[in-house]
Symmetry: C2
Subunit: 1017 residues, 2 copies
């Protein structure tokens, strides 16, 4: 076949030395060129059946391909070969349909045939060569299994791309960071000493006092940069990013009209593409020369380092800014949880300490007060004494006390502080990581978007064709040029996004997607609510059944049993739905056909957040705001299914139930998701993969060599984005902020979780995932907005929890308006209304009521002897007004304080501001100095010139002495007048000459004086 | 004296042609060089006494000084001359004290002597020459009166500074803006046609469909820009800005250690510095060749153009971005007031239409219902019938109806929409004005800050000296070098802000300022409140006195008279305090010693805003939320000064009073401030100035020549910043947003005011002010925050106005809970409580009560026959709860809607986003093309090279053909290895050669193919 023959034609340039690899396969077989990226594809079995074994062997022999004269014949051959490999009927109408085929392959359910894939790979890799990359292929003959194509970016390519990507690199110019003097200095020394044990042992962190000025890389200014070795000037992450950038934009037009590696992976042409890790993460030999991965593993990705700061700079260096920002964010969050936890513990401690002096709970426990309460269920239940609920009342006080109000305000401000602090930290990081002023990278459309767009185009073209067929066709000889024009148009459209006929999908194309989206989300909301309702029904029915049971043991444990089981059911439902919703969100977002990856991510995040948030918080919201509010009153209860009374809150208030619900869901979710989903499932997957590989390896029986780094990395799991990590933390942030008024220990549990979470994630990134491509990002994106929205939402939620769920407001109202003595004595009596037993509906009264005529229930209603009995009393309205006023007060106070806090804390830290100013000044300085020296030089040139030919005002280049390299921005020769721009430019130069040469040379010393002033800066 | 002699030494270079000036004095006397900036100083009379007349004449003869060999002797002479002109005692201890003198001159109450000023001017202008500017002085002999120093920036200086300031200029590369197709296109054509009469007739606005790519100016890339003429490439505003930039940073070290023109103006060395207007604003001759100022005057700065759009681009071109943004903002605000006004009129119309069917007001007017109301004052007043208050009830309905609630929500969303719309407009403008990515300019400290800092330094140094004196001094011979070191240190500190001993003022220095600040602001708050309280007392006493008057005419007009007079008093107080507070704010901000001008402005704005806001709104807040709430109840009234009952609201509700208050203050403030302060006072000032000038001119008797442009401009008032303009609008925005629920016509009045305001401001800028320096700004700064904060505040204020001031909630509550029929019948009865006349305190009952036993009053209290008589009733609490619930609902609903609106409207308009993307692509394209061509060129060079000496891999420059000018970034020769940077660079180049030369030349056609692809983009 022609295909493999053409692949053979790629000449083997470069060293064909023995494939002994040093440093564990991080280099090409010549041991010098670093492997910057690896492309993996599988030779499939059926392909080896199709192709003769001989060609397969010759094709897979070691072929290091460097840039060289790439034979022109390849492309034409490839096209021809493709035409030959095609089914005859399609090759026949090669005219306008020609370019559609490659696309159609992607959109059709069947993948392109294997030989077609090989052709695509062949073209793609040829284009990579053309872009300047160097390629090495596997030496061994492999009939199937993964094959590796290793890429190396040589220095010129790195330079070109770094300039193109505006990568900032350190220059030689450095400056000392200001040392604090006096008291501040000694304080910071002490602080540093105290902090020492918490600092990770990372090399090269001691030159913290000097900062190198960074500048966008430019090949014209190489003399400015601190280049010690061209191999290490760009670190591995940057190299990987550069190669990825080339891979991303390399087109593949002849065989498969696509752009970029991700489309090829989506089409199955390649299986994977990843940069290599820096080597093994286990330290085998001596400790001195640890690679970055080993350092990270030792100092960061282990549980025993939990008390240490994270080596964020190293994380960023190794994994790129996006992942670095995630861990920095997680670190800031965890750090700020410490004060929140401490305050939470103190608040809880206050509750514990005051539980024995709290009058309402003492009154509730006091048997002498003898409150006879109305029965909790119809018929089967009896009247009961309030003092039997003493336990819950006391427990309730632990969480429902005045300190909680303070804590709610504190936590709202804490959330604002956290966000502000993070903003500052982000700016500091983006300053020290040289991210200031980076722009969003232009993104190519997602493969799916392209496919759908193409389908649309095809449909439209077919329509047009059908129209044309009806008309008499005349320009038949124009097909070839027409085809060329078509292709060029398409190419330009693909590479630059300029509109051809159909340039984008409109809302019409997306309408079905949106429709399914909205209905699915509504459906899932319904699902969540029905799950909550199901648990309510479970609770009602089971407690009714248990209450009817004759066993007194069962009866007494009704509440505990039912609550515990119901919460566990809730938890399980949440966990299951969480996973389902995650998958559904991806599916729904695909349906929307977002254009770019960023777009996709944002929509996915929003959807997933909405669904998961609803899922996690719906039961909690129910308990906090709805439970017990629709129970009705004695004699007029509300029934579900005509038979079961709606549930009421515990006698101690709903807050304690909210607290139980919250703590169990939070803890359960964290424990289970952390342990099972994050540790267990990856382990399981690894096991499965290992077993599978083993199976295939056994049949192969050719794995003698020690595995290369790319084999090792290929065996790891692919990196799948940070969304799940962030999502987990955001939901947790909700637990910490939204209902914190009811559970002051939430920050503590979150802190404990996060300390583990950091190391767990770190372990995963260092040891279990392929190295992700280093992605630049200057912030955490949409997550910040979600966090900030959540912070705002938490204010109103906490206001409502305090005023409606807790007993704080009724107590205040009682103490300051109704209480005779100004104390809380009599509060319980005040909260209980009277009910005349004779008003029970028939059949609902307790069977053995005895001589009780009046029972009490918790509500503010008129007593039976009032003219409007059982109506809401004046107290009810009074308390309600107080509750509402509190909400307004709390919300606006906290919002105002938040604004003040956000306003007082400047977004940009003062030190950073000063450094920025200094850097700017230094840059200006460098600029001015170059300017001055340039003029001086020209002047000296001109002086020479005039001595030769006086009166001439234009500089004749090449006549003067050689110009030093640093004035490379100087024009090298007379400008061509062809474009009209050279004229003024030359004139400008001449003018500046005349300006400076007119000056007496005796002023030069003064210039130098000024110069030294600048350098003294 | 030596001084003037040294001034003489500046040689007269350039043309000494006759001083006939063409184009009305916009040029130097050679008629070619544009006057870019004018410095004005006054020759004072006493100076002519000091100096001999002869020198003064010779010094002031026409001296055009261009850049040339500036004599070295000047500086040394000047220093010597200064030493000579100094009092002996000071010159004696010239050692370390030397440099302090210049400073001390500024800090001492007396200004530096006139000859010293001349020295300073002399040095400053010499430094300007050195910076490349060209200078022309007045020809005439002038013993006193203003003298003008005119500056011109030649092309090389413009180039240098434009590069330095990163001024973006249009390149030759342009692209067509996307034309909408199909329906959208025809729509936009219709829209454009409809809009035609509203468009100002401004030339050069028709090429709207093409946009030129802009790029930071760089002398290396002159061929990229569209330079037709070097004189007009930079417009006048830009030239002025460039010269200002030079003036701002030019130092004056020998005579007066300062930086920049503003300090010199502050010290009185110069009187003024301004760029010139473009000529007269009156069109005298033919219309075709109007200058920009004339166009602006014709098309913008006249009332008859009120219906037109503003020529914002021209405004920006003429006045710079900052002023352009102000007018753009004002335009957007005014435009958006149109829909608000329309909705406001509709809402008001709804009130008018429904006033005859509104049951509560009908009931109030119904005499048959016969509500006997309790007397309005003690003793003197009688019981009265509610139906007599029919008028206010009907008027009240005009503003207090359900539509108002809708309007309040509408206006809150309107405010958000306005801000979002402005954000978009701002981004559009900053895109089309090429402001994207501009950085904040580095600012020098304000003169006052420098002075205070110097005083501090001096104090510290004196202390040191005193210390030193106690120690034995040894290094006496080191004084000279020590002095030099000192000076250099100071210089470097001044130019670069790097710390010397004392580098900044700390909070300790500012403590007294802060203290005075806080106490003054508190005092002024107190003043405002006492003014409000004074008016209250006036109202109470006058109405009490009038009620006691025997004249029934007086009695019946009590309310109208008192309200009207009180509001007018309020208005007058507000207007007076407004002016006082404006001045006090400036004074207080000076006391804080802010470091930079921006800093100063921000603090001033905040303070002035706070004070003026309090001032304007305190009486309105009182009426809205406090009036009538502390009046007590019959039998238990609240008294002020033990004698006067607190005032109550009118029977129709407080809303009508709020409405009156609001409308009178708003209208009065606008009318008076617009007419008197903005038109009258400047006219008056001009008159005074003209009279003064006339007086001095008469004594001179030498003004024969027609006045030059600089004379004309000098006669105008100086530009004093935009703060007052913004402030006025922001306060107005408060009227429109804060209490809009009570006065739906506010937007209409604001609209009418603004239509005039725009033209008034425009007139002022075009005809009455000196041309301001064009200042770059990418947004309106702190005003946006104030607006946004006001928008947020308005939500809660409107919520409270609707729920507490208006009767909306009580009506709702009545209709849905108490009304038997579900209608409003009986509402008036429901709102009135009963009072038993026998419960009046002795002496407070009306004298002639007749047979009335029970009177009614507006409140929700228990009737006299209830067990807890006169306590708040259940209705009270119920209504209160409803009111509070409404506040919560309203606030959160509106906040949520605002968030949604802000989220739905993207900050960056889609078209701009697309254009940005296209521009970026074009830039990349240009980059890639240059890259490719460069390589091709090198390749061809190399091909030649290898034929000469095969195997050589380094390019020998000078051997190849001349390199075209556009590859000026190419290194011109072998790099010097001196700085270590040339090495890798040369290597990099060599590598790229080898990479590209290895490629077969036969691939070149394909390269070109790709190239054409890029150009097709």
């Amino acid at each position: 076949m022609q295909i493999s023959a053409s692949e053979d034609k790629i000449p083997v340039v470069g060293s064909t030395s023995t494939p002994q690899c040093n440093t564990e396969g991080l280099y090409f077989s010549d041991g010098r060129r670093k492997v910057d990226y690896v492309l993996v594809f599988h030779q499939r079995r059926h392909s080896s059946i199709r192709c003769p074994v001989g060609t397969s062997v010759s094709q897979d022999r070691l072929s290091i391909v460097s840039n060289g004269n790439f034979p022109q014949s390849v492309s034409s051959d490839a096209v021809a070969g493709r035409g030959g490999g095609m089914p005859g009927e399609e090759a026949a109408n090669a005219g306008e349909v020609f370019m559609e085929l490659g696309f159609a392959g992607g959109s059709e359910p069947t993948e392109p045939a294997d030989h077609e894939m090989r052709l695509i790979r062949q073209e793609f890799e040829a284009n990579l060569l053309e872009a300047g990359l160097e390629i090495e292929r596997d030496k061994e003959v492999k009939a199937h299994g993964p094959s590796f194509t290793r890429l190396h970016a040589p220095w010129p390519v790195l330079c070109r791309e770094a300039e193109f990507l505006k990568i900032k690199v350190p220059t030689k110019t450095s400056y000392e960071l200001k040392e604090e003097s006096g008291f501040g200095s000694s304080m910071s020394t002490i602080w540093r000493k105290l902090n020492q044990p918490f600092q990770p042992k990372v090399p090269h962190q001691d030159h913290e006092r000097t900062k190198f000025l960074s500048h966008c890389f430019s090949r014209d200014k190489l003399h400015l940069y601190n280049i010690t070795s061209k191999d290490t000037f760009f670190d591995n992450a940057t190299r990987g990013r550069i190669v990825y950038e080339i891979l991303r934009r390399t087109v593949c037009v002849r065989t498969c009209q696509t752009i970029g590696i991700s489309t090829l992976i989506a089409k199955g042409v390649y299986d994977a593409a990843f940069p290599l890790h820096d080597g093994d993460y286990r330290v085998i030999g001596h400790l001195e020369e640890r690679n970055d991965r080993q350092v990270l593993h030792e100092e960061w990705a282990r549980y025993s380092a939990f008390y240490k700061y994270q080596p964020i700079d190293l994380v960023r260096k190794y994994f790129g800014e996006k992942i670095g920002l995630y861990f920095a964010w997680l670190g800031v969050y965890t750090q700020l949880l410490i004060p929140a936890s401490i305050v939470g513990i103190i608040v809880f401690g206050y509750g514990v300490a005051t539980v024995d002096t709290d009058i309402p709970s003492l009154e509730m426990c006091d048997e002498r007060l003898n409150f006879t309460m109305c029965p909790l269920c119809d018929g089967a239940c009896d009247f009961w004494q309030l003092s039997t609920a003493c336990g819950t009342a006391r427990a309730s006080h632990l969480f429902d006390n005045p300190a909680t109000v303070f804590f709610a305000i504190f936590m709202s401000l804490w959330a604002v502080l956290f966000l502000e602090h993070w903003k500052r930290r982000q700016i500091s990081l983006s300053f020290s990581w040289d991210l200031t002023g980076i722009e969003e990278d232009e993104e190519h459309p997602r493969p799916r978007y392209e496919t759908i767009l193409l389908q649309k185009r095809q449909r439209k073209q077919k329509k047009k064709k059908n129209k044309k067929k009806n008309e008499p066709e005349k320009q038949e000889d124009g097909t070839v040029t027409g085809k060329d024009r078509w292709r060029q148009k398409l190419l330009s459209a693909m590479t630059a996004g300029i509109p051809t006929a159909i340039d984008k999908l409109t809302w019409k194309d997306r309408l079905p997607g949106y429709f399914i989206n909205v209905s699915s989300i509504l459906f899932m909301f319904g699902l969540t609510f029905s799950a909550v309702f199901g648990v309510i029904v479970y609770r009602i029915t089971v407690s009714a059944l248990m209450a009817m049971s004759p066993d007194p043991e069962t009866k007494s444990n009704v509440r505990v049993t039912v609550t515990a089981t119901a919460v566990i059911i809730n938890l399980v439902v949440i966990l299951i739905l969480d996973e389902i919703y995650g998958a559904v969100a991806v599916w729904l977002t695909e349906l929307e056909i977002p254009k770019t990856e960023t777009n996709f991510e944002e929509r996915l995040i929003l959807k997933a957040f909405l669904l998961k948030f609803m899922n996690a918080y719906a039961p909690i919201f129910y308990v906090a705001f709805f439970k017990g509010r629709f129970a009705g009153r004695p004699g007029n209860y509300v029934y579900v299914f005509n038979d079961y009374r709606m549930e009421e809150c515990a006698p101690g208030g709903c807050l304690i139930e909210l607290c139980i619900q919250l703590s169990i869901i939070m803890l359960g979710k964290q424990l289970i998701q952390n342990n099972i989903f994050e540790i267990g499932i990856p382990k399981l997957k690894k096991l499965v993969r290992a077993l599978k590989d083993k199976g295939s390896a056994e049949t192969e029986k050719e794995e003698e060599r020690p595995p290369q780094q790319w084999n090792l990395d290929h065996a790891l799991a692919a990196f799948e984005g940070l969304t799940p990590e962030y999502m987990e933390m955001i939901i947790q942030f909700g637990f910490v902020s939204l209902f914190v008024a009811s559970f002051p220990l939430a920050p503590l549990f979150a802190l404990l979780n996060n300390v583990i979470e950091i190391r767990l994630d770190a372990k995963k990134f260092v040891t279990e995932l392929r190295r992700p491509v280093a992605i630049r990002a200057k912030d955490i994106g949409i997550w910040y907005n979600i966090l900030s929205g959540m912070g705002k939402f938490s204010v109103i939620i906490n206001a409502f929890v305090i005023s409606f769920t807790s007993d704080f407001i009724p107590r205040l109202v009682y103490q300051y308006t109704y209480s005779q003595t100004g104390t809380m004595h009599g509060f319980i009596d005040y909260t209980l209304s009277y009910f005349n037993v004779s008003n029970f509906k028939p059949g609902t009264a307790p069977q053995n009521s005895g001589d009780i005529t009046v029972c009490r229930y918790k509500d503010y209603r008129e007593p039976p002897w009032s003219p409007d009995a059982y109506q809401f009393s004046k107290q009810y309205w009074c308390v309600l007004a107080a509750r509402l006023a509190f909400v307004i007060l709390f919300q606006n106070l906290v919002m105002f304080l938040s604004l003040v806090v956000a306003w007082v804390i400047p977004d940009v830290p003062k030190t950073i501001m000063e450094q920025l100013k200094r850097e700017k000044k230094l840059l200006v300085d460098v600029f001015l100095r170059e300017e001055k020296e340039k003029f001086q030089l020209i002047q000296s040139l001109f002086a020479k010139d005039t001595t030769l030919q006086p009166g001439s005002h234009t500089l004749q280049p090449g006549q003067g002495p050689p110009i030093p390299g640093r004035y490379s921005t100087l024009p090298p020769g007379p400008t061509q007048a062809g474009d009209g721009g050279g004229g003024p430019r030359a004139r400008c130069r001449a003018a500046s000459f005349s300006q400076f040469t007119r000056k007496n040379p005796s002023t030069l010393p003064r210039n130098e004086n000024e110069n030294s002033r600048h350098t003294a800066v």
